[in-house]
């Protein structure tokens, strides 16, 4: 049987871990630059605040109910995630992390889902839900149903599967996106049970092979192998706190986000073959523009200076004067695993030396930012922006678990009843 461990309201739980005063209080987490709501605690969900809502739109609701808003502290979330994954590994052996707060594993016969739930809660301090079923897609469904139970756990036996499928809307099935769901609904396929009733050939013909695999998984035939999520593209971007007009200001923003993008690529051991840059003005104003262009790199890379160089080339191509730019985005598409790069065949030897040099530099930079904090070293092209934009993350919680100066405080004071 396959198990799926999924953390409950993960970002909010991390923020509450070192804040006993926030127990049972509604909190929300805002996106980079505090633009919109990305995560909520259970209590905030009950107030009908929704994920994705712009911050200013729910500000009155927030103030009226005393909701506490945090800027996203990914450093903290990643550390807690690593702890959970490590603990889970100790418990069940091999695991396949699927996202920052989810991992698949083979359910050991000697464990009950409740034991895993309790162990993670005790050892790390985070609530998790466990779904167990015959395949990964079914485990996802089990987990989702389990979340609604008091136990937060569901061991989905074979004989209960059809009932569970019947209760699961087709758009909630793992692997069925918005477009596929719309198509299926137009053919009166409304829930997961309807889906497995279909003819396999019809699915293969009208949808795709992955949908057929999803369907087989729902029938209890394991065929999806999640070895690490296949990252198709990685994006980094920002909405500016104030509109920017000059190309220098944009260059700075682009460079900064190339750095973040590069860090993401390195962390995932990926390299990119293409870079796309998009700058945009306010969508609700007149003369809205959002030019975008893509560059193909000679060789796949995750070397930050190369990314910046490529991105700047694009920027010069798409930049138009006298526009108030609201934000920028950078994508890396066409990803490959690093170390498997295909070298430029015309520049073999010389290139190898250069690549070696770049690898060394990247390693040193990485070590410095790991030891002294991320903003201590960066490409000269990014100078002011990092600081400016960090300031707009005004509700950022401390880096409780990764910086000595930020560790949480414990009161050692006697404030209770004095003896008479």
């Amino acid at each position: 049987m396959i198990g799926l461990c999924d953390c409950n309201n993960f970002y909010a739980s991390c923020e509450k871990l070192f804040r006993p005063d926030l127990k049972n209080k509604p909190i929300i987490i805002l996106s980079n630059n505090d633009g919109c709501v990305v995560a909520l605690s259970k209590e905030a969900k009950q107030l009908k605040i929704k994920r994705g809502l712009p911050y200013f739109q729910c500000k009155t609701l927030i103030e009226k109910n005393g909701v506490i808003a945090f800027s996203s502290n990914y450093t903290l979330y990643q550390d807690i995630s690593d702890r959970i994954m490590n603990r889970l590994r100790d418990l069940v052996g091999l695991i396949t992390p699927y996202s920052i707060d989810e991992a698949f594993f083979r359910m050991p016969y000697y464990l009950k889902p409740e034991q895993i739930r309790d162990d993670i809660k005790k050892n790390i301090g985070i609530d998790v839900s466990i779904g167990v079923a015959r395949t990964k897609t079914l485990a996802k469904i089990a987990n989702k149903i389990g979340k609604q139970l008091d136990s937060n756990c569901l061991y989905l036996k074979k004989e209960w599967e059809s009932k569970a499928l019947y209760k699961t809307k087709v758009e909630d099935v793992w692997g069925i996106g918005k477009n596929k769901a719309r198509f299926l609904k137009s053919h009166n396929i409304l829930n997961a049970y309807d889906l497995i009733e279909q003819n396999e050939l019809w699915i293969r013909k009208n949808l795709s092979l992955p949908t057929l695999e999803t369907m087989k998984e729902l029938k209890g035939i394991p065929c999806i192998n999640v070895e690490m999520p296949q990252t198709k593209n990685i994006c980094s971007g920002i909405t500016f706190s104030k509109p920017r007009e000059s190309i220098e200001e944009l260059e700075e923003a682009i460079s900064c986000h190339c750095t973040i993008l590069g860090e993401k690529l390195i962390a995932k051991q990926l390299e990119t073959k293409t870079i796309s840059v998009n700058i945009f003005t306010n969508r609700f104003e007149e003369n809205y523009i959002a030019p975008i262009s893509t560059i193909y790199l000679k060789e796949a890379t995750n070397y930050i200076p190369n990314l910046i160089k490529a991105a700047k080339t694009i920027l010069y191509k798409i930049y138009a004067k006298n526009c108030k730019y609201k934000g920028c985005r950078i994508w890396a598409n066409n990803l490959t695993r690093d170390g498997y790069r295909q070298l430029d065949i015309f520049n073999g030897e010389k290139n190898n030396l250069l690549l070696e040099k770049q690898d060394k530099l990247a390693k040193v930079v990485n070590e410095i930012s790991n030891t002294y904090g991320r903003e201590k070293i960066s490409s000269a092209a990014t100078n002011n922006l990092v600081k400016n934009d960090l300031q707009s993350r005004c509700n950022l919680s401390p880096f409780y678990t990764t910086r000595w100066e930020d560790i949480p405080k414990v009161k050692c004071k006697n404030k209770y009843i004095k003896k008479r």
């Binding site: 690593d82 490590n86 050892n123 678990t401 000595w404 949480p408 405080k409 006697n414 209770y416 004095k418």
Partner: protein, 132 residues
């Protein structure tokens, strides 16, 4: 092609000298993590603020190594969540009742009646203090 450099066919280091008699006895140097971080995933570091635990050797500003994997038992020093804040106290368990025991004789034990407002965050397994 330049002609000066001789062609190297193969590089073979030539061994000479007497091998170190201690080479087989080498061990890893002392590692503080081994001493302080028995369960890495479930250990958090917190900072003591206040001097109520001086009798137990915990001073203001000390770093408390808190291991959540340890089951708290009678007489353990623990970090507890009590009335909405973290507090460090000695845990006493008498006749199935839980008390937080202040080290200072002028203060009374606090009996925990309401478990909604109390939970043990973790057991203090080590204290770290640097002197300069």
């Amino acid at each position: 092609m330049k002609k000066e450099s001789p062609t190297i066919l193969m590089e073979i280091p030539i061994k000479c000298g007497f091998p170190s008699p201690a080479a087989d006895s080498r061990e890893n140097p002392l590692d503080f993590n081994q001493l302080l971080l028995k369960h890495r995933a479930s250990t958090y570091c917190l900072k003591a603020s206040g001097n109520s635990l001086e009798k137990s050797g915990i001073y203001d500003g000390d770093i408390l190594v808190v291991d959540k994997s340890i089951n708290a038992k009678n007489n353990d020093l623990v970090v507890a969540e009590y009335e909405g804040e973290f507090t460090a106290k000695r845990l006493k368990i008498k006749d199935d009742k839980i008390y937080l025991h202040p080290e200072n004789v002028d203060f009374e034990d606090i009996e925990i009646n309401n478990l909604d407002d109390f939970s043990i965050f973790g057991v203090i397994s080590a204290v770290v203090r640097t002197l300069r």
